[in-house]
Amino acid sequence: MPRYEPTEVTGETDGGRSPKRRKAVRYAVPVAVAGVAAATIGLVPAFAGSGSPDLPKISAQDLIAKIAKSDVQQLSGTVRVSTDLGLPSLPGGMAAGGFGGGQGGEKGGHGQDGASAAPQSKLMELASGAHTLRVAADGPEKQRVSIVDKAAEYSLVHNGNEVWAYDSGSNTAVHSTAPDAGRHGTHKRAPKGLPGDLKNATPQDLAKKVLQAAGDTTSVTVDGTARVAGRDAYQLLIKPKQAASTVGSIRVAVDAANGVPLKFTLTPKSGGAAAIDVGYTNVDFAKPAADLFSFTPPKGAKVVDGDKQRATAQREHGKRFKDFGSRKDAKDLRKDFGGLNVIGKGWTSIATIKGAGGGLPSGKDQATAGDAGKFLDSLGEKVSGSFGSGRMFSTRLVNALITDNGTVYVGAVDKQALIHAADAAK
């Protein structure tokens, strides 16, 4: 039926080419569009990633000095955080480099309303999966961090001695007062923990923490250059020298112009994807708008007094949890915690918590068998040595050994090192 042949269509004259050929040519258009798009998607990031800018050579020493000297006070940007510790329910304290064994228990203990807006539980979410943060800072007095969620946002605003946390999901605002100078008192945790945790989310402080840990146990080198968030950066490569460490390498990309660490990547020795990857996806060193740091609780929002809430929570949960609260670094922990001991140094430090009277509830639960014990059995693998026997819990970065008498050995070291430590303690 020539009448219906496509060649008859008006306004579509195409010379004397055969319909078949014309068809092929036309179908080539969508294929070409898709191909170009795929090529762009595939190649642009590859080019962006391989782009190592030409920068003057710099020694590791100078680079570290550059970081230390860096006095960038004002910045705003977007930070991408992805953590893959190998166990989604792992407490987040470990991500920050501390021995936050108690955090998980603490989180569970606070199962009361308003907790969803409490900074601690929210920041814990950062310990697994991928998150986007928007950060802005203007000097040490004004900071803002927002966790960008799907159709929700969690904001922490620090301005002077006021700290506001706002959770859009529950429309709740938590207000706390930051300390002026004092470190002690019952309200120690919130004001201390808040700005501390807040800063942990930026690459700067993670990098700083790592540099502090460096010593004769660590090799620090400059390993080429990279482009991060559109800025030229040096790459600082940090590798533990101690074989027992589970940390493979840490890479810190440092802005070549102003020494601000832009990206922090921690790769476990076992290989695979980075266990912790925190980096700016875009950054701007101009002064952020002032109204970013002013927060007035919106009308209709539930306002919780964070200081008061914390005080009651502590009363309820008694001393046990108070100890956990002040988790700041290993030193604080050691002081607060009677049974805690740190063996070894550098990367292979192992924290030991003496059982029974200690704070880790799992130690006791497990000893009393029952369902909890069975559950733990399914998680941990049974090990034994001259110390007796116990269970080994392992993740990609941190391993923990809980012996049958309740002593806990935790560290970013391989399992053998934990068993040795337990044997040695015997």
Partner: protein, 290 residues
């Protein structure tokens, strides 16, 4: 005189506007279209009444932020949030489903009814007819979204107080600015659907059965939505057209977070280009026998 020119081989652009107008009138006069719009308008009413009943006796407690669609805890404080909630509720399924019906039906329905060849008798050309059909579908996207938004606004204004709008970042803006943001969100939601509209149009050129085209488009939508939730496929997901749909909420952050919005619009444009040109390739080379 425009009629005289209409007979010429190269009709003026005005002519295709006329074609577009008649297409739009035909589409919106169909009972099927009106029923779809009525269903869409009903969703916000249902959501609004449900929230009202739920919080009616318990006071404006907000009822916990966990679970439920986005923004629902805010609805009791501000009726405008019903617009955002309704769009978040309808965007994953109701809206795209109705787009799938309209887009799938656009050409295949004509072919099925035997009217396609009469349309082609007019000296408009197939490319132009295809563009007009696509434009009609896009108009429906916008109208459908606005119907949801307006119905939600009306319900929200009737059942709940209106006033200052609290953004996701905790900042308050005036009601007028809130309305503007709501309008912007409606437009973004409508734009989020252009990728699916192009897919539907392409499917519609493949078959002569309107029902088959609709079913395929809606089936495809559901499949892709399911794929988008499987964590193992996270490498592919950024390229699935519904992946960034809920990014419209980013317009409610204090400095608006453009990243995902841009990705969404770019992705939709890409789908429109690929499937639009595929539809063109198919439609202009196909034998129209019905």
């Amino acid at each position: 005189m425009s009629q005289a020119e209409g007979v010429l081989r190269r009709p003026r652009p005005l002519w295709s506007l006329g074609l577009l107008r008649s297409e739009i009138t035909t589409t919106f006069r169909r009972w099927r279209t009106l029923a779809l719009l009525a269903v869409l308008a009903g969703v916000p009413v249902l959501v609004g009444i449900a929230v009202k009943i739920e919080t009616g006796d318990g006071g404006p407690g907000g009822g916990g932020g966990q679970g439920g669609p986005a923004f629902i805890s805010q609805v009791t404080h501000n009726g405008l949030f019903l617009v955002f909630t309704s769009l978040a509720v309808t965007l994953p399924f109701f809206l795209p489903m109705s787009i799938g019906v309209i887009a799938g039906d656009s050409l295949a329905g004509e072919a099925h009814g035997g009217t396609l060849r009469y349309l082609l008798v007019a000296p408009a050309g197939r490319t132009r007819l295809l563009l007009v059909k696509y434009a009609t579908t896009l108009t429906f996207c916008l109208v459908a979204t606005l119907v949801v938004a307006l119905s939600a606004l009306a319900t929200g204004a009737l059942l709940f107080p209106l006033g200052e709008v609290t953004l996701l970042s905790g900042t308050s803006i005036s009601f007028g600015e809130g309305l503007l943001r709501a309008l912007a969100i409606a437009v973004v939601v409508a734009l989020s659907l252009i990728g699916l509209a192009a897919v539907g149009l392409f499917v519609s050129t493949l078959t002569s059965s309107g029902i088959a085209a609709m079913a395929t488009t809606v089936g495809l939508l559901i499949t892709v939505q399911i794929l988008d939730t499987i964590p193992q496929l996270s490498a592919v997901q950024p390229y699935l057209f519904p992946h960034y749909w809920l990014s419209f909420a980013d317009l409610l952050r204090d400095p608006v977070y453009w990243d995902q919005l841009q990705k969404n619009l770019g992705l939709q444009a890409l789908y429109a280009a690929v499937f639009g040109s595929a539809a063109w390739a198919r439609f202009t080379t196909r034998d129209i026998t019905a």
